[in-house]
Symmetry: D2
Subunit: 303 residues, 4 copies
Amino acid sequence: MHIGMVGLGRMGGNMAERLRAAGIDVTGYDANPENSEVASLAELVAALPQPRRVIWVMVPAGAPTAAVLTELEGLLDDGDVVVEGGNSHFEDDRTNADSLAAKGIGYVDVGVSGGIWGRENGYGLMAGGAQDDIELLMPVFDALRPEGPRNEGFVHAGPVGAGHYSKMVHNGIEYGLMQAYAEGYQLLEARDDLIPDVGAVFGAWRRGTVVRSWLLDLMVRAVEEDPGLDDISGWVDDSGEGRWTINEAIENAVPVPVISAALFARFASRQPNSPAMRAVAALRQQFGGHAVKAAETETPAAE
Amino acid sequence: MHIGMVGLGRMGGNMAERLRAAGIDVTGYDANPENSEVASLAELVAALPQPRRVIWVMVPAGAPTAAVLTELEGLLDDGDVVVEGGNSHFEDDRTNADSLAAKGIGYVDVGVSGGIWGRENGYGLMAGGAQDDIELLMPVFDALRPEGPRNEGFVHAGPVGAGHYSKMVHNGIEYGLMQAYAEGYQLLEARDDLIPDVGAVFGAWRRGTVVRSWLLDLMVRAVEEDPGLDDISGWVDDSGEGRWTINEAIENAVPVPVISAALFARFASRQPNSPAMRAVAALRQQFGGHAVKAAETETPAAE
Amino acid sequence: MHIGMVGLGRMGGNMAERLRAAGIDVTGYDANPENSEVASLAELVAALPQPRRVIWVMVPAGAPTAAVLTELEGLLDDGDVVVEGGNSHFEDDRTNADSLAAKGIGYVDVGVSGGIWGRENGYGLMAGGAQDDIELLMPVFDALRPEGPRNEGFVHAGPVGAGHYSKMVHNGIEYGLMQAYAEGYQLLEARDDLIPDVGAVFGAWRRGTVVRSWLLDLMVRAVEEDPGLDDISGWVDDSGEGRWTINEAIENAVPVPVISAALFARFASRQPNSPAMRAVAALRQQFGGHAVKAAETETPAAE
Amino acid sequence: MHIGMVGLGRMGGNMAERLRAAGIDVTGYDANPENSEVASLAELVAALPQPRRVIWVMVPAGAPTAAVLTELEGLLDDGDVVVEGGNSHFEDDRTNADSLAAKGIGYVDVGVSGGIWGRENGYGLMAGGAQDDIELLMPVFDALRPEGPRNEGFVHAGPVGAGHYSKMVHNGIEYGLMQAYAEGYQLLEARDDLIPDVGAVFGAWRRGTVVRSWLLDLMVRAVEEDPGLDDISGWVDDSGEGRWTINEAIENAVPVPVISAALFARFASRQPNSPAMRAVAALRQQFGGHAVKAAETETPAAE
């Protein structure tokens, strides 16, 4: 099999390597000419065998993906298939698919999980699309996913959009999991009189416990590399998929107190002197008096 | 009527003034000789008319309150009444009352709300104790509480402990209210393209709206004094009663997502580089690769 | 002054009455002929004095509002003004305004607070729009808003959209306030050994306390009418504005743990046997064994 | 080696079997004579080799554990060691240890994780106590813990109390993890138009993804046994350790929004018509009018 890969960054580049290692030919295009194997998308398309050319798009969500899809729509033909493997919103998938369908071009959305470890371990894959497009792509999926039973690392989750919807929910869960471990980390650290080595406790949770997981393994690894996590800042970014998860939860009246708490903790981590907390401080000052700390011999003004 | 007041700080001092303005004699004792009208608790007790001496204790919760109560137990007699008007935990009230009861001394716990405004506006009062002790104290309560119907600013909430329990819940609610306004404040401020004057919007909520309240009035006052709240830090302290509220909620299996969120927001405001958020950042780095920001032309490593 | 009012339901009808009581002529149209004073929007428009006809639209957000605006666009002319007083999303206001502006028709969005009490007490008003449109409408605003200083019950919050944005945030805050009082209510009720009369405690918070507010007054009223709140179900609906508040918070990276917790509590109140909690129960069963309650003499399987 | 095991319920009984399979002799005592191998604790103690008898206590936390420890204190001697393997609060460990230390009896607290799977897979173990007591017990720990490197399934976490503190935090994390998966489960289920088979998506997350874990494997197992989780109720109990985690977090000013949200979701799952939500409903009715659903042609009373 021979496919095209658009976007040879950390994800696309690694995926291309894993595909080739599995015997799949990949021609790669990147907007940066230094990384690209062909000069243009047109050249990429021209390099692929017909019929049923397959192009896997792995560029940032939003405008970059939209630009690539628009250009591909002009270059591809009936029976070809575009795979959107980036982080598009699942509702954009429907729009994308409809647009390409007018020319008979298939569209499959794939949520890809695994980060930088995927090249070696394989990627968790969640796909949405038509059955025959999925079947055409199965050798590609089998090469990318981890070894083991197919249904433990790949799912044809449903129609177009189901892949990215599943990935969005996956990431929402992930936010909650990370924050749960992080709260536990701080709780252990807060009692260094009892727990002299937080990393050793996390390390001992790797086997037999209820909380064992891959994220736990990574946590142990992080603490081994940097005990105390002193070299890292508590400023935490967020990608769009956590936000989309909350929006979608609200749309469907699904209570998501944990996932939202995890997202808001990230927001708050980037606002050390937030307007909201200044407002709370201002209110306390208004009713409690201007002195911030009361002397030992008097009762602080009651709240 | 003539009572003793122990603790002449911001709360006790103001309360003594309000009592005197209402025609109640107050002899005041403070650990700080410069503020005290008598040299010792013994002198204070000796200055009060018998029978049924009344001593209102208004010192910081914990050890200071315990020390005063222990000393008073040795000085007072059958029929006298001690009022604990500070912020004791409601479970300590039961212990205090039992100890004093052995000598026939009454004990009334009173939650006092109103902050520095109470001297002029009157204090909201929640009392716990025996009916006859409450009746003895009623002239004092009537002098301290705001004008208007008695049951709108005073309640005999129940037996010993009920006053401080009510005050604890009052403060828990207060945490939630303050955080709700604060989140709204930040939401308005975040869209300064639409809302050029956040204070004007808060100001307009004072009449007719569902959110009008005394805290809202204070919010307007705070923004009038310091538009943008630039002179105040977003570091927010917490007193014990918010914490007790959560502990008590957990004891009774009462879900308190709002009150706890408000408390945790305060905790987080004091931890700009928290261990938990460093743990989240470390996890993201572990699975997503070491680069924190991905270039425009590549897909960030999927979470 | 003489204006048209479209929508004579609980809000629009009451507002028309308050306006008339203040000396403003109102011609009212309602889709229900039994409530309507004119047979059509065209008749309504024809009944108003020129130039600068004013039509206040007070119909449900979404399709009903859109239909009315579209029809009015065909009926009105340069210099006329449409007021959207319903619950439109603030982003729709911009679209509405642009569409009407093509014909020179002004557009003002007004967030209206106060519920059924507004007819008597006046409505809290937050307006967005152009300065000259606001000035034209000022007699209407002054009639609708509560007595007292104008800036305590009315605000020209900013350009088109600012009125509904302010109202959206107002409602988000309101969700948080209500949930805070509700958690306090349950905390008091949980300790009926200490607090025999929850309503009495709430009642005593009306004067002097930090938590006094109009919502508190309503809470007291509710408990007076139905002690124990036995006649009401704990199933709580939500209107769109709470949801929009969270979405907008996420858009602007504003942490809103309290407002979201309040919204999710409402969602959960409508899901007594939720899929999420069945999933938690299923997990507990998986690792802890099938028996749900362990006997006294054995340790439950550790979590 | 030969030890005594007190409590032969699901945990103690399974652990005894795993120990014997590893060549450790175990004499077991249970309050239920039908399960017990000896007639009394005295007989159990008499059956063990001296010096340095080892008794592992595995009975419910609280009064049952306290009763066993008190009786053992009278039966054991200098150099013997009691292991508290149940779910005691870490602060009780210090008290227990001090009491036994007066007679020279050692005390080790061990948090045990793994549930009913531990017998086959091994148990995750977190121990607190003196170094020489831990060393004495090492053959027992090695038999109970999973195969693999010792430090991946066992930790000497610190002094007395550190074992149960670590286990408490472990369980707090576990609450958060479970709720995160559960929210994801409901989000997938809510869109059955996109995701026809929620179990298949969870199943595909087992390899390669960021969220893979043992709890995820259990989730897949649960859905395989009962697709739709229809046979299970969304009523979720909680054990003490989740509550203790929050209390301890509050004591140390550690924000735990995720763990607390998970605990409160369990509380709420058991309160389908909660007082708090009745209070919210009552407030809505007060300001919004008595009709619960507004007709299509009118604007609902604004909140």
